[in-house]
Amino acid sequence: MPAPVITARDLRKQYEDVAAVDGISFEVSPGESFGLLGPNGAGKSTTMRMVGAVSTRTSGDLEILGLDPNAHGPDIRSQLGVVPQADNLDTELRVRENLLVYGRYFGLPRRTIAERADELLAFAQLEEKSKAKVDALSGGMKRRLTIARALINDPRILLLDEPTTGLDPQARHILWDRLFRLKEQGTTLVLTTHYMDEAEQLCDRLIVVDHGRIMAEGTPAELIRAHSSREVLEVRFGADRNAEVAKRLEGVGDRIEVLPDRILVYSANGEAELVRITEAGLHPITSLVRRSSLEDVFLRLTGRSLIE
């Protein structure tokens, strides 16, 4: 087992009276793709900024590549690629210039940077936009440029804070594809997301975070197995009737979750549960059987939806 590239023990960050990160511990192995899944305000970005050696921790232990960020910020950051939640590309410079300038911050020779910039523009599918202004790029392109910029120093660890939030489905898939390639090349990825499909797609292992604490940890499959049933039956009786109907569904499935717009029935066999419901004389407006997802895990653990 190789030594972990990131070790966090009881990591905390206090902002005045807000405990943004409230005692988080985890390890990330080299080459692993590690996720932080949680709703807005869970403390994901704050954790990422501490791991990124920019934000000073309030307490706890943190080691990145065997170094303490308090003493070795620049050294650690020389080995990281960072895709922050909010783009901070330089809008006063052109697309390619953004890469050239950023490479210099790492003290890399201009020749090396120029070569890598061209490779990375190709990787990010932005070759035609090389001379464009940053503001002229679409959201997806900006994100890809930010990823290209984060790779200019050939980082050991790539930190991605909500890489696809705000992108349309097509742009998200292009981005996922790029991240897959990096993963295949052995880059260690640490990413945050509040999309469970993204977490399932990209993460080998993840922690579910809420209110600055870890609610659960494991591979997506393990988490689903441990905290949810194999299948979920979703039935809708209309917003005003769901709560009332739910009372009559006692005993159906392993567990029932009533949401404002639908009822979730957790069970190993969704179809069988639907038959039982209709036999009881209840006729949902719509019904759907699907596999359990991380969304269900989150709902189970916190009683809330990931996206509210």
Binding site: A3, V5, Y15, P30, G52, V54, S55, T56, L65, G66, L67, N70, A71, H72, G73, P74, D75, I76, R77, S78, Q79, L80, V82, P84, A86, N88, L89, D90, T91, E92, L93, E97, V101, Y102, R104, Y105, F106, G107, N153, R156
Partner: protein
Amino acid sequence: MSAESPRQQATDAPGAPRPETARALAAGTRPRRFGAWYVAEHRFRVMRSYLQTMLATGIGSPIIYLYGLGAGLASLIDAPVASQPGAEGVPYLVFVAPALLASAAITVATEEFSYPIMLGYKWNPTFTGMHASPIRPGQIVDGIVISVTVRILATSAVYYLFMLLFGAVPSPLGYLAVLAATLGGLAFGHLLMAYVSTLEQDTGQIALVMRFLVLPMTLFSGTFFPLSQLPWFLQPIGWVSPLWHATELSRVFAYGYPEPLWLTVVHVVVLVAMAAVGWIASRRIAARRLGR
């Protein structure tokens, strides 16, 4: 600072450092040493995008002001201007030119140390981007100082050439006025940078500074007429004004303005102190703000 030294870790760690640790320590060396210059490089690249504006104002304003005040206003003011009652007077153009030089330096400093700082922290947070690389907050500030110093020096040098052309510099030591003006620009600029760095939001504070600090400073710093002509209760404005100190210092170099040596020393000390305080404060604020 010893905890910052790369060797420390190697001796602290049990056994030899891991290869990726060694790699990190090696890769961190150049940015630790030269980070400020990399930031300056960035600023120069950005300045290139408004090079034309820079050249136009850099060449246009000395011509306009020196011509306007020299050929225009000076022709109305026949009597030589004496800096202090009783002192020997000089032609108005000679009197006003060093002040215009200092004022031009402060104008450039005001431009560069105000909105671009707000831009880097907030509107287009490139400072956050730099800080995510090996660059340290203090180096961001240093890099900006380096690049702006170069721009102020260049602007002042051009201004000085036009002063020579207009015959406004009798003293052979006149070129030192360029340094005096640059120092004045940095003294005011660094303090301004420190203030702007504390702003979470610009709800008009920067515009207020321009209107109620920079403009009055130009009027009450002995720029167009000697400070001694102001009523006594307005004169302290000059004493705390970096523009006044820079102007008086420029006059000493440009035409051997008669003032006691101790006062000349005071100008230098005040300007250096202001520049140093503003610089150090800006670095501290940057570290606090970016490291939250």
